[in-house]
């Protein structure tokens, strides 16, 4: 379990480094491939 947690920790460090727009906050509930991020939630 600890080994997998260690892997997850490494993955978390990777995604933490993503160059995200700090104002954008869209998650899965509205996820629809092919559509732009909804401006109303930025």
């Amino acid at each position: 379990v600890l080994q997998f947690l260690e892997v997850a920790h490494r993955m978390a460090a990777i995604v933490e480094g993503a160059p995200l727009d700090g104002g954008a906050f869209e998650m899965a509930a509205g996820f629809r491939p092919g559509l732009p991020s909804p401006e109303t939630r930025r």
Partner: protein, 464 residues
């Protein structure tokens, strides 16, 4: 056995429609082949012989009465055992689920294929709760690769890949959260379609990770893949993730060719340097499609990490009660990953979902300049059953998580993909043909062109 088990599904339907063979004969022959070969391959976990023969006789009777038959009338198929099959507990590769009440109704996609005349032969082996790329299963045993029984079929839709490749069914269904259609397609040398996220309803199938789960077909023939896909399309109000889109059939444009399509090869994260089998396969497909340019899907590594965290977080939450009460009844290979997922901070999950959206927006910009992207499906051909590590770019890495290195970033943003088989000197390996959302038609057109050119053909394995 009198019927050629490697006859494409659309030809089987034609032969039944024109009276050259009866549906009962076809079904009986496939059941006999399953009885002979499944003890070795371990692809089927349930065989629904009585139901299949009854349906086949019904099709023959309908034909005798002069009734119109569906496009898949009499075509046998089988489904990964996470699809509900009326009268059976939906085991989803697990021990625990066998105690569930039998399903009262078939899964939505099973019903749609049955409505088109297809005949269900049974349920197929899979990795426990779909958390697997190998096809190994502590409860049901490893599903074997028909091209070399010592090797993995790939997972988690192991039985779908193995049964389709071995001619135990011309069509099958699987699921793909991180690569579970594309990895077994690659290892078993068949075609597999992972449609756009939200295209096919998942109603009455057992979930793994709701925001990444896709369902789709396997076949040895691209026309069959399109035929099955078209029969399964359409909205369904019971799956909240299912887009309420009208049916957009792919069969009418399947033979339109690739003229005018802008096709490029994925570089960067998808580089096959140091992976000779994958490199040769991508080169063969790229050459046949005239894909000279390379595109960089910048952020693919981030998307893979995001998919890992989303999968762990959602699946662990879904299984939390089972983990608390029945941890000892899980496959040890999946249990420890679920337990680790249960301890992930929620901030990791939320950041991963944001990264997913960000990567999606990056890739949508790439699709302004290309129509199709070619990428490897797996870094290697099928490993040996029991193998634990993999040589990847000069490094020894754990095998299980790294079999999905090329598939995870693509499913993370829900793009449609057809995995196409390439046979080199030995074992098959797959290549992903990827399109923008909702353009499954382009993936299938390219796959058909590759099949016609003889570059991607699902060769029958040498079985007894």
């Amino acid at each position: 056995v009198s019927f050629d088990a490697f006859t494409p599904a659309h030809r089987i339907a034609d032969q039944i429609r024109t009276g050259k063979v009866t549906a009962e004969t076809v079904t009986g022959d496939y059941l006999a082949r399953i009885a002979t070969l499944n003890p070795t391959l371990n692809a089927f976990t349930d065989v629904t012989a009585g139901r299949a023969l009854a349906q086949a006789r019904g099709i023959d009777a309908a034909r005798a009465r002069g009734e119109a038959l569906g496009p898949l009338a009499g075509v046998p198929f089988a489904v990964k055992n996470l699809f509900d099959i009326e009268g059976l507990p939906t085991r989803a590769g697990s021990k625990i689920n066998r105690e569930r009440a039998p399903a009262s109704r078939d899964g939505e996609l099973v019903e749609r294929l049955s409505a088109a005349g297809a005949v269900l032969l049974g349920g197929l082996n899979m990795g426990e709760y779909a958390y697997d790329f190998t096809g190994e299963n502590a409860h049901d045993g490893a599903c074997r690769n028909p091209h070399d029984g010592a090797r993995m079929a790939g997972g988690s839709s192991s039985g779908s890949g193995s049964a389709t490749a071995a001619g135990l069914a011309p069509l099958s269904l699987g699921s793909d959260t991180n690569g579970s259609i594309r990895v077994p397609s690659s290892f078993c040398g068949v075609f597999g379609l992972k449609p756009t996220y939200g295209r096919l309803p998942r109603t009455r199938s057992f979930p793994f990770c709701d925001s990444l789960d896709h369902l789709g077909p396997f076949a040895r023939d691209v026309t069959d893949l399109a035929l099955a896909y078209d029969a399964m399309q359409g909205p369904d109000e019971h799956d909240p993730a299912c887009a309420q889109r009208v049916v957009e059939p792919c069969l009418p444009t399947l033979k339109d060719g690739i003229g005018g399509l802008r096709i490029a090869v994925a570089g960067g994260h998808f580089s096959t340097e140091g992976m000779p089998d994958a490199q040769a396969a991508v080169a063969a497909v790229a050459k046949a499609l005239g894909a000279g340019a390379t595109v960089d899907l910048a952020g693919a590594g981030l998307a893979r990490a995001a998919a890992f965290l989303i999968t762990n977080g959602e699946s662990a939450a879904f299984h939390l009660d089972r983990l608390r009460a029945r941890a000892h009844d899980f496959d040890p290979e999946t249990r420890d990953r679920f337990l680790a997922g249960a301890m992930q901070p929620s901030a990791w999950y939320i950041q991963a979902q944001r990264v997913r959206r960000w990567f999606h927006d990056q890739v949508m910009r790439v699709f302004e300049d290309v129509d199709l992207i070619v990428a490897p499906a797996t870094p290697c051909v099928a490993p040996l059953i029991g193998q634990k590590t993999l040589e990847l770019r000069g490094e020894t890495v754990p095998l299980r998580p790294n079999l999905g290195i090329f598939t995870q970033p693509i499913s993370a943003i829900g793009l449609p993909v057809v995995a196409v088989p390439v046979f080199g000197a030995g074992l098959p390996i797959g290549v992903q043909v990827i399109a923008a959302p909702w353009r499954e038609d382009l993936c299938l057109r390219a796959a058909f062109a590759l099949e016609q050119a003889g570059v991607c053909v699902a060769r029958p394995p040498a079985l007894g």
